[in-house]
């Protein structure tokens, strides 16, 4: 019994430094003035090949529409544990979404990207509306979106 407790403590001690190496990132997403309802957004990290790694934020509350955020939906499997605690309301045309999320240091300057998939009711779905390399140099540099996103900035 004592042994088990000791092992658990040890595992915690090893994991803790990992947590300490995460930092808070502020994501600012400014939408275009498009004509349509509020947009659903998925902001997530992929590797250089576009392979899904981790969800940063999901805007939009109805899970039944998540399939329109198709690359993210494929990667995450729309598994609720992937976006637990990092979701909020959909974002209106011309509005700005600003959220702060935890990001592991290991993902920065390691060839990863931040991507945004977006969708609006009765309008097109946009895969990789934004695609920006996740680097210390890229922080604070606005990236342009192709469909609904006007600009996207992350501040490390």
């Amino acid at each position: 019994m004592k042994k088990i407790i000791a092992t658990t403590c040890l595992a915690g001690a090893i994991a803790l430094p990992g947590l300490a190496q995460a930092r808070e990132v502020t994501l600012t997403t400014q939408l275009k003035d498009y004509s349509g309802n509020d947009a659903y957004l998925a902001i997530y990290v992929t590797d250089a090949n576009g392979q899904y790694q981790k969800t940063l934020w999901v805007a939009g509350k109805k899970a039944k529409y998540y399939k329109h955020l198709s690359d993210w939906a494929r990667g995450s499997g729309m598994n609720p544990s992937e976006f637990d605690g990092v979701s909020g309301a959909s974002v209106g045309s011309g509005r700005t979404l600003k959220v702060s999320v935890e990001l592991a240091d290991t993902l920065i300057d390691a060839g990863y990207q931040i991507r945004i998939d977006s969708a609006v009711e009765d309008k097109r779905d946009a895969r990789a509306d934004v695609s920006a390399p996740l680097t210390s140099k890229g922080a604070g540099q606005p990236a342009t979106g192709s469909t609904y996103v006007e600009s996207f900035t992350y501040d490390l």
């Binding site: 004509s35 576009g50 097109r124 192709s146």
Partner: protein, 726 residues
């Protein structure tokens, strides 16, 4: 109870329901408009592979192809980093127009779904659908009750303008509104998760995809196997990613398509819940079912009309409601008045009786018939004033009376009088009053008077009843009840044609002009004239329409007839006060069916008016009875004129004070063959004259119709037999 369960939700939700209905009606046009602007393809004409091949020629950067339920094909593409969307012709793949949803449609849609109030608004829309459902069901039940059962649901409707339109429009729109309300309610329930919306998890992303070279999209086998009409959406793989696949959504299911092998991967068929949701969604929106959407929209447009007429009806009922002063308690009253009323108009008459009895010193108790307690200890007389509802049924405030009476019984020999109020246009005129009379007799009551009736709220008939009652009670009983006197117009007598002096039936055709503009009326409507010295108006059938430029009536002088003497004594140029009471039931139906006009004496007035306006020369046959052709052949010159210009097909006059005396009934029997032929052709019968004559006419016509297995009662029920009797 049923009535309250209709009017209460109606009042509460009128605005909400109107908002939903109007916005819904606007949206209902969209599927039809969309269908007008796209190219339809037959099943088997075009597959998705062919379409994708054509699209690829025009849009190298295509990312997604969508086909809406209404058949519009939309291509989403990326050109030089900028996203675009265009509708395309599926036969060529060429662009038709840039695709954008109209801001107006989106606005109306959002208004319809949530009134821009987010989740609470979605809830309000759902509640609106629930109200609509309740109103449709209770309205249908009320209508069936009023018409005497479900099998009579399509019978002609009668009543005031608001009553008729409310019911007529409701009947037309019933099915559509039920469908919209039920489907709307279902969709609202799925929005809130009360019912599963049939959304399925996405098919699992295929674990293995081919690695070979990608094939041209038009040759992919899974796409070739999918008919264009089944396509919902085709999402292209990310450009340059050989591991990615097409996502294909069809009417039947979803899956992925390998871009190298063309195989369909991880296909997942829709389950029945999903199909149910899609089907109900289509029924509600009309998407892909434009031919259903348009009539549903029309039904929805009926809702504002019904809301407004419904509120008007409720307001009128409320205003007519009981408002009795000096109402003694049931146990101490010597006179008890019981009221059976559907829409409260009978209460006005009861109040007049109550006040008159109270003034002559009686302790009077008035109550609804349903409040019958049996234990009226001091009662010396009971008056029952009751309307009849529907096909001879009890009106709302009397629905439990007969059962209660049977239970409590009656003080032996208690004097009573029943007055029936009704409308002779109904086949079962005052039927319920007859039942009450019989039940009271059977319970051992002793009648003060025989059963009397009042037709169409006639003040005169009511006053007559009061007079008769006064004689029995040994006291003067003056009952003056004028149900809502409308604004009167001043009219000037301009012309008089006198008939019938020699046969002791002085009859005048009187023509009036308005001092300003004539009020609007048609032949067959009634004019109410208030003679000097009496507050009660007398009604005369109009022999002209306001378009004729004169107001024409035909009046016989009666001994002691206050108003007829007044009118006969008028000098040319004299002024009278009059108002119009519309009588839309008594009018030839539109259409080319033959019309049989039957009348006697002054009853010819409106009939002559109908003939004069028969500009379309529909077959019209007039049967009319007078006394002597040399003296009271009313309208003789006009009728001959109408015969020669074919406005009148046949004139069959009968005279009772000549050698071969003959009544109009005899003429009908003599013409049985012709009449049967006309009835078989769908003829409509309009009868105008005295009640006695009308009775004789019914007897004669029943005889005429018997070989056809028809009777006047069936014609009445079909709305083909209409009377204006006095």
């Amino acid at each position: 109870m049923l009535r309250q369960s209709h009017s209460l939700p109606g009042l509460i939700a009128a605005l909400l329901v109107m908002l939903l209905a109007i916005s819904g009606a606007i949206l209902s046009v969209d599927p039809a408009l969309e269908r007008l602007h796209n190219t339809a393809t037959a099943t088997g004409q075009l597959n998705v592979g062919q379409l994708a091949g054509r699209v690829a020629n025009h849009f190298p950067g295509v990312e997604q192809i969508q086909r809406t339920a209404s058949g519009t094909v939309i291509v989403y593409y990326n050109k030089n980093g900028q996203a675009g969307a265009e509708t395309v012709d599926p036969l060529t793949g060429e662009s038709l127009a840039p695709y954008a949803t109209s801001a107006f449609t989106r606005w109306v849609k959002e208004l319809h779904r949530s009134m821009f109030l987010g989740t609470p608004g979605h809830g309000a829309s759902g509640v609106g659908a629930l109200f609509m459902l309740m109103l449709s069901v209770s309205g249908a039940l009320l209508l069936a009750r009023r018409l005497g059962g479900w099998r009579n649901l399509l019978r002609p409707l009668r009543g005031t303008f608001s009553q008729r339109w409310h019911a007529e429009v409701g009947r037309l729109a019933l099915l559509g509104l039920l469908l919209s309300a039920l489907s709307g309610l279902y969709m609202s329930a799925t929005t809130f998760g009360f019912i599963a919306d049939g959304s399925q998890s996405e098919p699992a992303f295929p674990a293995h995809v081919s690695t070979g070279p990608t094939l041209p999209v038009a040759t992919l086998q899974a796409l070739q196997a999918t008919d264009l009409n089944d396509l919902r959406e085709l999402v292209y793989p990310s450009p340059g990613n050989p591991h990615d696949v097409f996502s294909l959504r069809t009417a039947q299911g979803d899956g992925y398509v390998d871009q190298a092998s063309g195989a369909l991967l991880s296909y997942q068929a829709h389950d029945s819940m999903h199909n149910l949701y899609e089907w109900i969604y289509q029924l509600h929106t009309g998407e892909g079912l434009w031919w259903l959407g348009l009539p549903l929209g029309l039904c929805a447009l009926c809702v504002p009309l019904m809301s407004v007429t419904g509120i008007l009806l409720w307001w009128r009922r409320r205003k007519a409601g009981p408002n009795i002063r000096h109402n003694s308690p049931a146990h101490s009253a010597d006179s008890v008045i019981l009221v059976g009323s559907e829409n409260n108009s009978t209460w006005g008459f009861a109040k007049t009786l109550h006040d008159a009895l109270h003034q002559s010193g009686h302790q009077v108790h008035s109550a609804a018939m349903n409040n019958w307690v049996g234990d009226y200890r001091k009662a010396q007389r009971v008056f029952i004033l009751t309307a009849t509802h529907g096909d001879g049924d009890a009106p709302a405030s009397a629905s439990q009376f007969l059962a209660r009476l049977a239970k409590t019984g009656l003080k032996p020999g208690l004097p009573f009088a029943v007055l029936g109020l009704g409308d002779r246009q109904f086949a079962q005129f005052c039927q319920y009053a007859h039942q009450v009379q019989d039940a009271m007799l059977q319970a051992g009551g002793s009648p003060l008077l025989g059963l009397e009736t009042v037709n169409r709220q006639s003040s005169q008939e009511f006053a007559r009843w009061g007079h008769a009652l006064g004689e029995v009670l040994g006291q003067d009983l003056v009952l003056v009840h004028t149900p809502q006197q409308p604004r009167t117009h001043q009219l000037q007598l301009t012309e008089r044609i006198a008939y019938g002096e020699q046969v002791n039936a002085p009859t005048h055709i009187l023509r009036f002009k308005a001092c300003g503009e004539l009020p609007g009326f048609l032949a067959g409507d009634l004019v109410g004239i208030v003679p000097p010295g009496s507050p009660i108006p007398r009604f005369y059938s109009l022999a002209s329409g306001s378009r004729d430029g004169v107001l024409e009536i035909c009046v016989r002088k009666h001994n002691g007839g206050m108003c007829s003497q007044f009118l006969h004594g008028l000098n040319i140029g004299a002024l009278i006060e009059a108002f119009i009471q519309p009588n839309p039931q008594f009018r030839p139906a539109s259409g080319a069916h033959p019309v049989i006009l039957i009348g006697a004496g002054t009853g010819i007035g409106p009939l002559a008016g109908f003939i004069r306006n028969n500009k379309a020369r529909h077959p019209m046959h007039l049967y009319w009875g007078g006394r002597n052709p040399t003296s009271d052949f009313l309208y003789e010159p006009e009728l001959n004129q109408y015969l020669s210009d074919r406005r009148l097909t046949a004139l069959r006059a009968a005279f009772s004070q000549v050698q071969d005396r003959c009544y109009v009934q005899d003429r009908l029997i003599g013409d049985a063959l012709t009449l049967r032929r006309l009835i078989e052709k769908g003829a409509q019968v309009l009868v105008c004259g005295s009640r006695e004559m009308a009775k004789g006419v019914i007897q004669a016509l029943d005889e005429v119709l018997a070989p056809l297995n028809l009777s006047v009662l069936t014609l009445k029920a079909q709305g083909r037999y209409r009377e204006d009797v006095y």
